[in-house]
């Protein structure tokens, strides 16, 4: 019963893809293949791997993630919000407690600081999810569970006519397996 109910969610009908998927074991083979494919004009390829590899990052010429700016803005907003909250709550009812100064900076710093970390952390999470396109509900490429184990996949979306050339290039760079989707 549960199987039937969850089946459409857990095993959706795979979408149709046009392109070539090369599966590699050796990291240097995969990095060389990425460099060659990019030189051949296939800039929009995707690489799937169980762990991130610097060689692949260099081959893809990936820059640093933009998530740091989202986090920075979140931190600024959090600190401003935290200090603002302290100021507002004191100003809205200026009640002297224990003879302490009303607008005292040290306690405000604690609240402002914790708020900065909280909002920066939440922004970091949301920034990461948005930039990494997560949650990913629709597959962008054919998926293989081996990508979570020990294999690297290179997916090159292309027109049906270009698949042979790409498949040859991948095999030439040591692909263990090449799957043509057309």
């Amino acid at each position: 019963m549960i199987d039937k109910l969850l089946d459409p969610i857990l095993n959706p009908k795979p979408p149709k893809f046009n392109g070539v998927m090369g599966i590699y074991y050796y990291i240097d083979d995969a990095a060389d293949a990425v460099t060659s494919l990019r030189q051949a004009g296939h800039k929009n390829l995707n690489v799937f791997s169980p762990v991130p590899h610097h060689e692949i990052e260099h081959a893809l010429e990936q820059g640093p993630s933009l998530v740091r700016w989202v986090t920075f803005v979140g931190g600024l907003l959090g600190a401003t919000g935290g200090f603002g909250l302290c100021y507002y709550t004191i100003a809205s009812w200026p009640l002297v407690i224990g003879g302490k100064e009303l607008f005292s900076v040290p306690p405000m710093t604690v609240i402002g600081y914790e708020s900065m970390i909280l909002i920066a952390g939440l922004s970091n999470l949301l920034g990461m999810l948005a930039l990494a396109r997560l949650p990913q509900t629709k597959a962008v490429a054919p998926y293989d569970p081996r990508f979570q184990e020990d294999r690297i996949g290179i997916w090159v979306p292309c027109a049906p006519g270009a698949t042979d050339r790409i498949a040859q290039l991948m095999k030439g760079h040591g692909a263990e397996e090449v799957q043509v989707h057309a």
């Binding site: 549960i2 199987d3 969850l6 089946d7 969610i9 857990l10 074991y25 990291i27 240097d28 083979d29 995707n46 690489v47 799937f48 791997s49 169980p50 762990v51 991130p52 590899h53 990052e57 640093p64 993630s65 933009l66 998530v67 986090t71 909250l85 302290c86 709550t89 004191i90 009812w93 407690i97 302490k100 306690p107 405000m108 604690v110 609240i111 914790e114 708020s115 970390i117 909280l118 952390g121 939440l122 970091n124 999470l125 920034g127 990461m128 999810l129 930039l131 990494a132 396109r133 997560l134 949650p135 990913q136 509900t137 490429a141 569970p145 990508f147 979570q148 184990e149 020990d150 040591g174």
Partner: protein, 456 residues
């Protein structure tokens, strides 16, 4: 085509626990822990629930009959509740230390142990947060602790250190939970691909956010992970500093000291690493994971305990020195009372467990002996619980005015609360062991030499 994990431990090849590890075998090994629970697990879990049930009966008594049923009497109104709160927040600190601070310092031994430590952090904060919530006496009004807009413009007193705690602990719970769950994403995706039970597969599909391991996902994942670590590092130091200021901001003898923040942070890491060692020794043995968490990893954790034990011992001595050297007679009397007064036994349990017994860690063979580490970790946690008890109870029983002096005695309800806190923590932990990967598959793989055709 297999890759041998020779450097997961520095000298792992000579280790009896050494066995060949490949990228795929890490998936196999870690996911083998996620299976239908056996008899031992069920026995432990049901026993844990039974204890928790008894503790809940104690909480029910507190709520229905009020604080009179516990041993809380003026002037010792914090007693066990706040002792438990500080103890569990302290336990929680190790996870963030191992996952964030050691990540920033590129200390790779963390990879084998951080997941378990992070889980401990989240469950530790969940346990800690219960105590102030119960301690308010009317937990159904706990939302008053938060600043929320209301018709009468009544706001929380942000100049009170107790309010700082609300912000600090909630931020810590949120950020450490996010850090834990984000770190799980790639590993849970691996679990999703192998899960057979539809409910488990659905759970993993949801938690993995549809992770595929694409290059653009890794790029932003590690971009964000670095910042989580960078945010969690100052947070871990600030949270226990804020907790220490609950005491240090008061003028009560024994509390009013600028030493408290670093002293509490060191103590938190000390007790937290002690708990991680306790859990790891059992888990690695029970699941036969000695090749993933090697003796070298355990020894490095033991060295952390050694370091923090020295810091804690130094703080104890500094407190006594300052009381003797300073002008405050009440402070001097209080410290004499702590060591030789009514609660001398609590003080000496604390001092022996936290300072004297850990001196054994200077011996290398002791650091590499799992049974010895397990026993020591239990003593450390007993000692650290008593540290908070000593700080809270001795200072409150003997404040400035002798007319207020009173000897506090623990009640059955409070004992139930202490035992219940452990069962609450272990309930989460036992479920975690069965449902989520207890070791980081992706990060342990990064320790492996990557397969390269050109280098053999």
């Amino acid at each position: 085509m297999s890759t041998t994990l020779k450097n997961i431990a520095v000298d792992g090849v000579n280790d009896v626990s050494y066995r060949e590890v490949t990228q795929k075998s890490i998936n196999d090994d870690v996911m083998s822990m996620i299976s239908l629970p056996g008899k031992v697990w069920w026995a432990l879990f049901l026993f844990d629930l039974l204890v928790l049930g008894c503790a809940l009966a104690g909480v029910r008594n507190l709520i229905v009959h009020g604080w009179g049923v516990s041993g809380f009497t003026r002037p010792v109104m914090w007693a066990v509740d706040i002792t438990n709160f500080v103890f569990w927040v302290g336990i929680a600190h190790c996870g963030t230390l191992v996952s964030a601070v050691l990540f920033l310092f590129r200390s790779h031994f963390r990879r084998a142990v951080y997941r378990l430590a992070e889980a401990m952090t989240v469950f530790g904060v969940l346990t800690a947060a219960m105590f102030p919530a119960i301690h308010t006496g009317r937990p159904w009004f706990d939302y008053w602790l938060f600043p929320y807009p209301n018709q009468r413009q009544l706001w929380t007193n942000i100049r009170s250190p107790l309010e700082w705690d609300v912000f600090a602990v909630n931020t810590y719970l949120t950020v450490s939970s996010i850090f834990f769950l984000v770190g799980l994403i790639p590993d849970v995706a691996a679990c999703r691909d192998r899960a057979k039970h539809p409910v488990m597969k659905l759970l993993y599909t949801v938690i993995s956010f549809g992770w595929t391991g694409a290059n653009y996902q890794w790029k932003h994942f590690y971009g964000a992970y670095l910042f989580f670590a960078a945010l969690a590092t100052p947070l871990v130091f600030s949270v226990h500093s804020v907790v220490s200021w609950d005491f240090a901001m008061a003028q009560t003898p024994g509390w009013h000291s600028t030493l408290f923040a670093p002293y509490f942070v060191a103590g938190a890491i000390f007790s937290g690493v002690g708990m991680v060692i306790f859990l790891l020794v059992i888990v690695r043995k029970a699941y036969n994971m000695q090749h993933i968490v090697t003796i070298d990893h355990m020894e490095k954790l033991a060295k952390l305990v050694m370091l923090t034990s020295c810091m804690v011992g130094y703080s104890y001595l500094t407190e006594f020195f300052m009381a003797w050297y300073g002008p405050n007679k009440a402070e001097r009397d209080l410290f004499l009372f702590r060591a030789f007064g009514h609660y001398w036994w609590a003080f000496w349990i604390m001092f022996s467990c936290n300072v004297i017994f850990p001196l054994l860690l200077w011996i290398k063979s002791f650091r590499r002996n799992m049974t010895a580490l397990l026993i020591l970790s239990i003593f450390i946690n007993i000692g650290m619980w008593f540290e908070r008890f000593v700080i809270i109870v001795t200072s409150l029983t003997r404040s400035f005015n002798p007319a207020n002096w009173f000897y506090y005695r623990i009640s059955l309800t409070e004992i139930l609360l202490i035992v219940g806190s452990f069962s609450w923590f272990f309930m989460f932990f036992l479920v975690f062991l069965r449902v989520l990967p207890s070791f980081s598959i992706a990060e342990i793989k990064e320790t492996l030499p990557m397969p390269k055709r050109r280098h053999g």
